[in-house]
């Protein structure tokens, strides 16, 4: 006799075996050697999570209670797989190209990435599936307790058992459903484990069936006879129930989150659908083959009142076939666990992607860029979601007390998730479907489902009896099970009919009335015409081919050398020979990060997704790429501006450099001139002082003469130095002007007197003093300096026999001119341009000026706001000083 411990050990060993299968499959997938895992067979077997414990155990019970009606549960999916596989193919293609992670994601994606819709679908799915999970927990528990019927087992208690089962399943789901974040959300480990479980449950059910037909009934003919005898054979067929339930199971096959997970999300190659289209109906045919015989024989052999739901288990047990019973137990266990794990995984993805993450991101504020930190958060939130969903299932089980009411919960769940169907199918085939329509349809269907099926089904204390009998607020036609006064319908048929009809109507009407947004239009076109938008089915046969594509792309972006280095390093790290690493998730992530450095994160993601995921680039991807490009453009235009600025600066620097070079050349010339001007008087001084020192017997006359020369040259030096300093001060603008007002006559008087003191040759100065009464406002000392210079020049250089200088003053509208004209030969025309330059001396064969006088004059007049020019067209030397009169100055101020 089996004991609890043996059963628990067997269960644990079986679970450990599943762990091992899942783990190995994950490892193989990670290293890219999992081609045999990606076969149509595994895909087909994984679809069998449709057959849960409800079908494993419940189908027999169903048959025992309602005859052949259980067939509808299998008929719906079969019709879908055979008659609508092109629709499924479209669904799978869209799922691939849009990188859809769940049915909620698909709906939200279709209707312009509406998160409201995603939340609605998620809530609906959680509400619809939670009872279903509870049902699985119950069936496991029930099978446990059936094993020990009549045995006294210490410390055994159904509730505790359920708790442990729920916890164990949660851990399994967490371990394999949330190990990492795959770009395509594929979980090879879990899918493989599910496929193994599919085999186990099929084998178990077939074994029990064979045992019943040939072991108990004594052959096929005998069995058929027994069936005829039993109640099953006489059961009437209720056409409306058949139609409704077939439709429901067909809808649920497509819309159940776990089905969507294995059929669309986990799909590796849409060609697998072709195989599944015949193989999956075949699987269902096999699994349902012995349902009726087991039910008929069970009804006959088992004592009155035995739960027909457990015939699969209790029949072998009652015959003492413990091994077979154990196998049957494992089959049921497999059905329950595979469903719970995949459902929890699918729901947790929806909850974390559409509820937790949006809330977290909006809490954090700002546009959150996806980083490793967020990935960690996603995993955590998924794990918690799995825990919460399992806990919900557990509490539902606790609340409902595990009663027989659970048996109908399967259909209640089906009806709930079927509400997604109009929005889904409409989204796939009708471009006119809008977000508002989808929301309206879902909302209507959801409300009707709750009102007509969920609440009455729960019954008991939650819903007052009056509501059922008299309707909401006592309005008769609002009775939950007889809407609009239509009575006499089966509750399920009634609920399905009204909810689906009104759901579809609301969806269509609102869609027609509302107007889709731009993103909705784009997505709508992408969905409805998915076969035109995405490339043909791409095989996953050669992962090396992908690596090659990645290599070619990377070379274009990173440059050949760097790309080859990177790929070789990665290949070495993976231990792969050659230069092409397997496209493992870790490698792809590193490659994406590397490429993102060159082209931006969004672009890198889109490029790699295009090659590896075989997915088409979504609108959001393109928008992100456009954003990045805009940033790059802005950056590059800023660079251009910078470079233009640099060019300008360089040009300025070059100009400055030329100026400096010129100034340096001028400085050299100037120094050379200064040197000459200093050395020349020094030479005379030195020569004569040595003569005076060294020569014996110089006459007193000679001594005087030589001393006088030394004296003259010293004065010349002093003058030169004074002039230089004066010029330097004037040129640097450091001169302070003592502005005062005075008559021009006085200034000229002073200048003539000073200039003519001690001149060797007499110079006759002609003036017309009557004209010189003009009052000027100026630095009168500086002005006198200019005049002195001009008069001295005339005295020095006028080469006439009797030198004469005429000074004439004119006032022309406030412009005062003072002309100095002598009767000499003047400055030769070719030298006139030069006379005001420093060290410019014209034909000077006399010791004297250093050639700075006129340069100083020019600077002074410049400072005083006037000018000094040479007047051409005169016979002799002719200089004109121009300045403004005091009257004009005052007026100007």
């Amino acid at each position: 006799m089996a004991t609890v411990n043996v059963l628990i050990v067997v269960s644990l060993v079986y679970v450990a075996f599943l762990f091992a299968v899942a783990f190995i499959a994950d490892r193989l997938a990670a290293t890219g050697r999992s081609t045999w895992l990606r076969t149509p067979l595994v895909y087909t077997l994984s679809l069998s999570i449709y057959c849960t414990a409800w079908t494993f155990y419940g189908a027999v019970g169903y048959a025992a209670r309602s005859g052949l009606e259980f067939v509808t549960i299998y008929l719906g999916p079969t019709l879908v797989m055979v008659g609508w596989w092109w629709g499924l193919r479209k669904l799978v293609r869209i799922g691939r190209s849009q990188r859809v992670t769940s049915i909620a994601d698909l709906i939200s994606s279709r209707y312009g990435k509406s998160n409201t819709l995603a939340i609605g679908v998620t809530v609906l799915a959680v509400l619809g599936v939670t009872p279903y999970i509870a049902l699985q927990l119950q069936s496991i528990t029930l099978s446990f307790s059936n094993f020990f019927e009549g045995q006294q087992v210490a410390h055994y208690n159904d509730t505790r058992m359920v708790l442990w089962v729920a916890a164990g399943l949660a851990i399994f789901a967490i371990l394999f459903g949330t190990r990492n974040l795959d770009a395509n959300e594929r979980h090879h480990g879990v899918v493989t484990a599910v496929a193994v479980e599919a085999v186990v449950k099929l084998v178990a059910l077939l074994a029990v069936g064979i045992f019943v037909v040939w072991g108990l009934a004594g052959g096929v003919g005998e069995t058929l006879a027994r069936i005829d005898e039993s109640r099953i054979g006489t059961w009437q067929v209720d056409a409306s129930r058949w139609a409704a339930i077939t439709f429901l199971s067909a809808a649920a096959f497509v819309t159940l989150p776990r089905m969507f997970q294995v059929m669309v999300v986990e799909n590796d190659d849409e060609r697998h659908l072709r195989t599944a289209a015949w193989a999956f109906p075949l699987y269902m045919l096999l699994i349902s083959l012995f349902v009726v015989p087991i039910a008929a024989v069970g009804l006959e052999l088992m004592p009155e009142g035995a739960n027909p739901d457990m015939f699969v288990l209790t029949l072998p047990l009652s015959q003492g076939r413990e091994g077979l019973a154990m196998l049957s137990f494992l089959g049921g266990f497999s059905s329950a666990t595979s469903m719970v794990i995949v459902a929890a995984m699918a729901l947790s993805t929806m909850v974390s992607n559409h509820i937790v993450m949006p809330i977290w991101l909006s809490r954090r504020g700002g546009g959150a860029s996806v980083s490793g930190d967020v990935r960690h958060l996603v995993l955590i939130s998924r794990r918690i979601a799995i825990g919460v969903i399992m806990a919900l299932g557990y509490f539902y089980f606790e609340l409902s007390g595990g009663g027989a009411a659970l048996a109908t919960i399967g259909l209640v769940s089906f009806t709930g998730v079927a509400q997604i169907l109009p929005a889904l199918v409409g989204g796939l085939f009708w471009r006119g479907a809008t977000r508002a329509g989808a929301l309206a349809g879902l909302g209507t269907g959801f409300a009707l489902w709750v009102y007509t099926l969920l609440l009455p089904g729960i019954g008991g204390g939650l819903v007052p009896e009056s509501l059922l009998s008299q309707g909401l607020f006592g309005i008769g036609w609002l009775r939950p099970q007889a809407l609009f006064g239509i009575e006499g319908l089966d509750p399920t048929v009634h609920a399905v009919m009204w909810s689906m009809a009104l759901n579809t109507a609301a969806f269509c009407i609102v869609s027609l009335l509302s107007f889709p947004g731009p993103l909705e239009r784009l997505q709508g076109a992408q969905f409805v015409n998915v076969f035109e938008h995405s490339a043909g089915p791409r095989g996953w046969t050669g992962s090396v081919a992908q690596s090659e594509d990645l290599m070619i792309m990377s070379q274009r972006i990173m440059g050949a050398g760097e790309a080859q280095d990177f790929f070789r390093r990665e290949a070495q790290m993976q231990g792969v020979r050659g230069n092409l690493p397997e496209p493992t998730p870790a490698f792809l992530e590193r490659l994406e990060r590397k490429l993102a450095g060159s082209v931006g994160a969004a672009t890198a993601h889109a490029m790699i997704g295009q090659i590896v995921g075989g997915s088409s680039v979504s609108v959001e991807d393109l928008l992100a790429v456009a954003d990045e490009s805009a940033q790059l453009l802005e950056y590059s235009s800023r660079l251009e501006a910078k470079s233009a600025e640099l060019a300008r600066t360089a040009r300025k620097l070059q100009e400055a450099n030329e100026k400096l070079t010129q100034i340096s050349r001028q400085k050299d010339a100037f120094l050379s001139q200064i040197s000459h001007e200093l050395r020349t008087p020094m030479t005379s001084i030195r020569a004569f002082s040595e003569i005076l020192r060294d020569t014996e017997g110089l006459s007193a006359e000679e001594k005087t003469r030589y001393a006088a020369i030394i004296h003259d040259e010293t004065l010349r030096l002093t003058r030169l130095l004074n002039d230089l300093l004066d010029l330097s001060v004037l040129e640097n603008g450091e001169v302070t002007l003592n502005m005062s007002t005075g008559a021009l006559r006085d200034v000229l008087d002073r200048a003539v007197a000073t200039a003519l003191t001690g001149v060797e040759r007499p110079l006759k100065v002609n003036r017309r003093r009557a004209n010189e009464g003009i009052i000027v406002h100026s630095d009168l000392d500086r002005l006198a300096q200019v005049f002195i210079n001009l008069i001295s020049n005339a005295a020095k250089y006028c080469d006439a026999e009797k030198p004469e200088l005429s000074i004439s003053v004119h006032d022309l509208n406030g412009q005062v001119t003072v002309d100095f004209l002598d009767n000499g030969s003047g400055v030769p025309p070719e030298a006139r341009a030069m006379v005001f330059e420093k060290f410019a001396r014209v034909g000077s064969d006399q010791a004297g000026g250093a050639g700075l006088g006129l340069a100083i004059c020019r600077e002074i007049m410049h400072r005083l706001g006037g000018e000094v020019t040479y007047l051409s067209g005169q016979k002799g030397g002719a200089f004109r000083v121009t300045l403004t009169s005091a009257r004009e100055k005052v007026a100007a101020q």
Partner: protein, 126 residues
Amino acid sequence: MNRHVLLIEDEPNITEAIRFLLTRDGWRVDAHANGADAVEVIRKARPDLVILDVMLPGRSGIEIIRDLRHSPECRDLPVLMLTARGQARDREMAEKAGVSRFMTKPFSNEEVLDAVRDLYERAAGT
């Protein structure tokens, strides 16, 4: 024998100083103050030695020496060049043009006398 020196210099005081020095040393000293016709004057005078200033009105001393070196009768004429511009570049230019000796103003009288004697003796010796 009366040694003849021709002094081409536009500063009257310097001319006077050199004339005084060399006359006392036994030279016959002639002076000329203009650069423009200096070459003609030198050719005509055929002195034993020329003392040449660089910065002359009309023509620079450098050009004068170049002309002298190109005429056969003056190719070996000793020329002492005096300049108030003492930069290395000036010296180079002068030496390239073919001066016999280069001296920067202000000079000491002794130097000038030594240089003049030395140049004369070397010219006489060859």
